[in-house]
Symmetry: C2
Subunit: 143 residues, 2 copies
DNA sequence: ATCTAAATAGAAATGATTTGCGTTTATAAT
DNA sequence: ATTATAAACGCAAATCATTTCTATTTAGAT
């Protein structure tokens, strides 16, 4: 028996973000929702071209940037410094474990910012504004 | 009374890395050694053009990549995804506190990889290969 | 049905980074 | 010192992911 996967309706989310519910945007979210791995704008473009006869790569870039700015998706840091995105299901503070083999992304919650903030405050006498933390490795299937 | 700053001789370092001690390379290391802030390849190029009538930007890029590969310098992660480098004095495991205002970089030692590795092993059943950790904020002068 | 700002497609531009290649140079062997 | 050789270099050109431009379309409100 396969569990029935209910497809999320992303219209309310877009509305709450003040973004119009265009077919391209909804398709992007639905597609990203089904992905466990990070994707490049071009990956996403290629997938969506199957469903839309006409869809421009700039549209993909614009929407990804927009959604990232609204914290719906996050960037993955890659050695080649190109853009890659992953659709986070978690909303609370967390970070990503990225498989360097299959590109799968998994959330984890350990985060030592509290310790770091203390050290920055005490030794460096500075103020922490943000932090970048990403763990790269091999996932269960790729180990 | 000013403390006399001894300028490090980088020839032994380059030799130990199997790199030729060229004037450009030595100048790059000496210059980076005097910097507290991260620099772009072009920043470095502009500074070195004062001392060398003829010096190409590709040379800067090539040497920076080489030195980064040998763990002499490290990259700084920047929102614009361009290359920035910082010359680390610490050799043991540490991370960077980067001032978003003045670009100054300071080392700090807190690092929770051990905790993270445990969580990755127990919950995700994966293997940690590397981790990226950078804290952005305001340094003592910029707070 | 009408209106308007937002969104889009497609073509073109951008610009940081990389590559190709002929010349120079550091370094070690003679 | 000379010489030999791989490594470095300068310069011009290429690359190519990303961004910008502009005319057209469209979602959502009136
Ligand atoms: Zn994997
Ligand atoms: Zn954190
Ligand atoms: Zn500062
Ligand atoms: Zn660490």
């Amino acid at each position: 028996m396969e569990a029935m996967e209910a497809k999320t309706d992303y219209q309310p989310l877009l509305k709450s973000l003040g973004l119009k519910s265009t077919p391209k945007r909804l398709a992007m979210l639905e597609m990203l929702d089904g992905e466990q791995a990070y994707l490049s704008p071009e990956d996403i473009w290629k997938k969506l071209k199957r469903r839309f006869k006409s869809i421009g790569l700039p549209t993909i870039y614009r929407n990804l940037e927009e959604l990232e700015g609204k914290n719906v998706i996050t960037k993955v840091i890659h050695p080649n410094r190109q853009l890659y995105y992953y659709f986070c299901r978690h909303s609370s503070h967390h970070h990503h474990f990225v498989c360097i083999s299959c590109k799968k992304v998994q959330d984890f919650t350990s985060c030592a910012v509290a310790d770091i903030e203390r050290e920055i405050r005490d030794k460096i006498k500075g103020k922490v504004v943000s932090h970048i933390f990403q763990v790269n490795g091999l996932c269960r299937e790729c180990v």
